[in-house]
């Protein structure tokens, strides 16, 4: 009865399909679907409870919108305030098909660019909807008082971003994420004041409650008092962000974690494309073992900076200003003459790694290698003058100087790729509903819109699209059948969830081994970065799986978590998150292993063209890989959702 074990690692289950997706012409699907979805009588809404986990762009905007609609919302975040969610750190901008510049942009073009940017691994209808609601997002944000950049005439300014040929990116200097999040946060606070939303800050979701196959609530820990609380509802929305911190070093915030998604996965929600990770090419390199996180610098720097490494290894220690032009290798300009320094993120990242692997990296040695390449503004300063460069990039240069102590006006910057965004996430249908009925997933936590790579300035767009416009219109179709039967706090499913959380906490506190949580996290991150990072090989991934398994085994024998359960205990919080990362890491490697193609953000060494470029295999891998939890000692089960391209023609990327 059980399917055979493949590669000794996983089984293949039945194919799945997005049954919620409507038929018809793509431009009419969303309108039709909104009409077809059931409505909830306003008088009934206040009888319906919705839990939202996470207060980033998706969670805060969904909370505000559902609160406005009249539902009873409970909102959770692990930070001390919903305003801290990591959406705040996004710098560049937000795309919208407004065509305010009259340069030929349209919903269809944004849809096309997003699908192409995702290397043809996203769903057409979800992506089209994203492009369709993008314009409404800008209207909404302006009405809320988001201070987008404006021109002297008082109208909104746009810039071109991420290598696309139209100017459709709205921005607020280098702090677009901050301004959009504060807008959503204020809308959420307004609903909190109105009593429509109840906010639980410094609360962490530790388990999903599933009753009769439906998501009916969560177990959360009050991170200040340590109290384990049960919250029941008619539907649960996860907007808990991505899992880039599985790599330990990433541009994610310290607290970003996969626990909410992973707990749901263990309760039956499929996890789709876990190996799809975006590596951002322009981050400040690691300076030593103490490093706790990586800082991104806007990609716009590549518009004027030139990337190079020394031609000879022996020059790597030299002061870069002493290396003459003929001894520099402007490798992106050499390899990709037509795109040069503006090649897509994945190519820029991978080539930087290749240069460092060749021993031509620069900056301090971390381990055996120097991990950095130069991003040089000497020519730009010569051409435009220092003042013009300062006007364009002043805040980024200041930030760089603050962190590294080096002045980029004098010395070339050093950059290196870092994990930035995870396109994978919980599998959802067109309604953003996971495989557990009543569980909805929004923003970076779901998988649906970005395929195998994400276009620049699209993460903010997706978070707000899901939260403001999509989820509120799809969740009603589910809630219209509610309110569902009240659940007793003594229900066996509730007790089971509570007990499992309590037991896990007691186990973590009771191991009292020799190693700190961070040391496990760092080691896991190292394995993931080495073998499941920018470039992956069959052999490396198998090795990683073994390493992760033994690390996980050691974790549960040898971790040291001090302090008590009934107080603020940051080691305990981290321990629970790392325990989940240790399980996710393995699944990511299995997913990466099974996908024998180079696609989007990741490069599979066994799948390349003659001249070393990424080679996709649409014949074999044109599907979403949705993984079902195989049980504590079982193996994950792969369910394939075939991707159909009805409106866009599949093409192999070329940037030569």
């Amino acid at each position: 009865m059980t399917a055979p074990l493949i590669e000794g690692l996983y089984r293949e289950g039945d194919a799945i399909a997005d049954t919620a997706a409507p038929d018809g012409p793509i431009a009419e699907k969303w309108t039709k679907h909104k009409f077809d979805n059931k409505l909830v009588n306003p008088a009934n809404r206040r009888k319906l409870d919705v839990i939202i986990v996470g207060t980033g762009l998706a969670g805060a905007s969904a909370g505000a919108t559902l609160g406005e609609a009249g539902y009873n919302v409970k909102s959770f975040c692990y930070q001390d305030s919903p305003r801290r969610a990591h959406s705040i750190a996004a710098q560049g901008g937000i795309n919208a098909a407004k065509n305010y510049k009259g340069d030929g942009d349209s919903i269809y073009r944004l849809f096309y660019d997003t699908v192409k940017g995702g290397d043809y691994r996203s769903r057409e209808d979800n992506t089209y909807r994203l492009a369709e609601v993008s314009a409404d997002i800008i209207d909404q944000c302006v009405a809320q008082g988001v201070p987008f950049a404006r021109e002297y005439g008082g109208l909104l300014d746009n810039r071109s971003f991420g290598g696309v040929q139209v100017s459709r990116t709205f921005y607020a200097r280098g702090q677009t994420g901050q301004q959009l999040l504060i807008g959503a946060y204020q809308a959420l606070e307004r609903q909190i004041a109105a009593g429509a939303v109840k906010m639980y800050s410094r609360h962490e979701m530790l388990e999903l409650i599933v009753v009769d196959g439906k998501a009916r609530g969560i177990i959360a820990r009050d991170m200040v008092s340590g109290e384990i609380q049960t919250h029941l509802a008619d539907a649960v929305v996860l907007a808990s962000g991505g899992y880039g911190n599985v790599y330990f070093l990433s541009t994610n915030a310290m607290g970003c974690n996969v626990t909410a998604s992973w707990r749901a996965h263990r309760k039956g929600a499929y996890f789709a494309n876990p190996c799809y990770t975006q590596i951002h090419p322009t981050c400040i390199p690691v300076s030593g073992d103490h490093q706790s996180k990586l800082t991104l610098m806007s990609e716009s720097l590549r518009n004027d900076g030139r990337i190079w490494v020394p031609k000879r290894r022996e020059d790597c220690e030299k002061d870069p200003r002493q290396i003459p032009d003929e001894d520099r290798d402007y490798y992106l300009e050499r390899l990709y003459p037509s795109f040069g320094n503006l090649v897509p993120r994945d190519i820029a990242s991978r080539q930087a790694k290749n240069m460092c692997d060749e021993g031509r990296g620069v900056g301090p040695k971390v381990g055996d290698f120097r991990r950095g390449v130069y991003l040089d503004f000497k020519d730009a300063i010569g051409r435009l003058g220092e003042d013009a460069v300062r006007a364009k990039y002043g805040n980024l240069f200041d930030m760089y100087k603050q962190i590294t102590g080096e002045d980029p006006y004098q010395v070339p910057m050093r950059i290196y790729p870092a994990v930035h965004y995870t396109m994978g996430g919980l599998w959802v249908d067109y309604d953003l509903q996971a495989t557990i009925p009543g569980l909805f997933v929004a923003g970076e936590a779901n998988f649906s819109d970005h395929g195998a790579n994400r276009l620049g300035a699209s993460a903010l767009m997706q978070g707000l699209a899901d939260g403001y416009f999509v989820l509120p219109n799809t969740i009603r179709n589910y809630l219209a059948d509610g309110p569902f039967e009240a659940i007793d706090a003594k229900h066996p499913a509730v007790i089971e969830a509570q007990d499992s959380v309590e037991n896990r906490i007691q186990t973590l506190l009771g191991i009292n081994g020799d190693r700190s949580v961070d040391s496990f996290h760092k080691e896991l991150g190292h394995i993931m970065w080495e073998y499941c990072g920018m470039e992956r090989t069959d052999e490396g991934l198998r090795k990683a799986i073994d390493l992760i398994r033994s690390l996980r085994d050691e974790f549960w024998r040898n971790v040291r978590v001090l302090g008590a359960a009934d107080t603020l205990n940051q080691s305990l919080e981290k321990a629970g998150r790392v325990a989940d990362f240790l399980e996710l890491g393995e699944l990511m490697c299995i997913d990466a292993l099974h996908r024998r193609e180079s696609c989007g953000g990741h490069f599979r060494a066994e799948s390349q063209t003659e001249d070393g470029e990424a080679l996709r295999h649409d014949d074999e891998f044109l599907y979403v890989g949705a993984w079902e939890w195989g049980g504590e000692d079982g193996n994950p089960v792969l369910h394939k959702e075939a991707l159909e391209y009805e409106f866009i023609e599949l093409k192999q990327r070329s940037y030569k």
Binding site: G67, E68, G70, R190, Q191, A193, A194, G195, A196
Partner: protein
């Protein structure tokens, strides 16, 4: 929920900004009074007769429309009300600030702001005591320095022949200068006059100018008298 949820009706106690506004307005009344007072003091340079004439006219100002000393009493009552409002608000804010941080820092960087804060509070308290002394000295003639004289000019000239009287007055003038330096800036802030970096600069210069004029204008008569420059 559809409607605006801002509840403007919520008012727990007199807002601290309202208290600050009371301080600003009453403080500005004092600034006006002080400038006029200074102008009067400087008349001593025009000779005893002129000074006595000025003091006399103050009593008969507005006569016959006002009774004798009528104008003086209007002024006095205004100033007393302003004083009570100013000091009362100051003490209320002082007490609230104390309650806002009941656990002190183990270490605090020596700050200019802390110095200014203390100079406003303790300097302000010192001025309050001085005003009482000043009234007992020149207005009611209860405290007599350098002998008892029945005309204002003689009282002035003889008092400031005494070195410690000069010192007390100079100290008070210094306190007043400091108080004005921050007080005028602060009043401008409270009344919403600082809306830009340029406006801040103008406000700061105004405060410095008024403070310097007041210090010089008030310090000149006692110093000149003490040095025997006025016959």
């Amino acid at each position: 929920m559809a409607t605006s949820t801002i509840d403007a009706g919520k008012r727990p106690k007199t807002g601290s900004i309202l208290l600050k506004t009371v301080m600003a307005v009453s403080g500005l009344i004092f600034v006006g009074f002080i400038l006029a007072h200074m102008y009067g003091n400087l008349m001593i340079f025009a000779g005893r007769e002129t000074f006595n004439e000025y003091a006399h006219h103050l009593r008969e100002f507005g006569s016959p429309m006002l009774p004798e000393k009528g104008f003086l009493w209007v002024m006095r009552i205004t100033l007393i009300v302003a004083l009570v409002a100013h000091a009362g608000s100051a003490f209320a804010l002082w007490s609230r600030a104390g309650k806002a941080r009941t656990t002190r820092y183990v270490q605090r960087k020596g700050q200019w702001a802390t110095f200014v804060k203390r100079s406003m509070r303790w300097g302000g308290a010192a001025l309050l005591i001085f005003v009482v002394f000043h009234i007992l000295h020149f207005t009611t003639n209860t405290i007599q320095i350098g002998g008892d004289y029945d005309n204002p000019a003689d009282r002035l000239l003889n008092s400031f022949g005494v070195w410690w009287a000069v010192l007390i007055y100079l100290f008070a003038v210094a306190c007043l200068g400091m108080h004005l330096l921050h007080g005028i800036w602060s009043a401008g802030m409270t009344l919403g006059l600082n809306r830009s970096l340029d406006a801040a600069e103008r406000l700061r210069l105004t405060a410095i100018l008024v403070a310097v004029v007041v210090v010089v204008g008030f310090a000149l008569p006692p110093l000149a008298i003490f040095l025997g420059l006025i016959p």
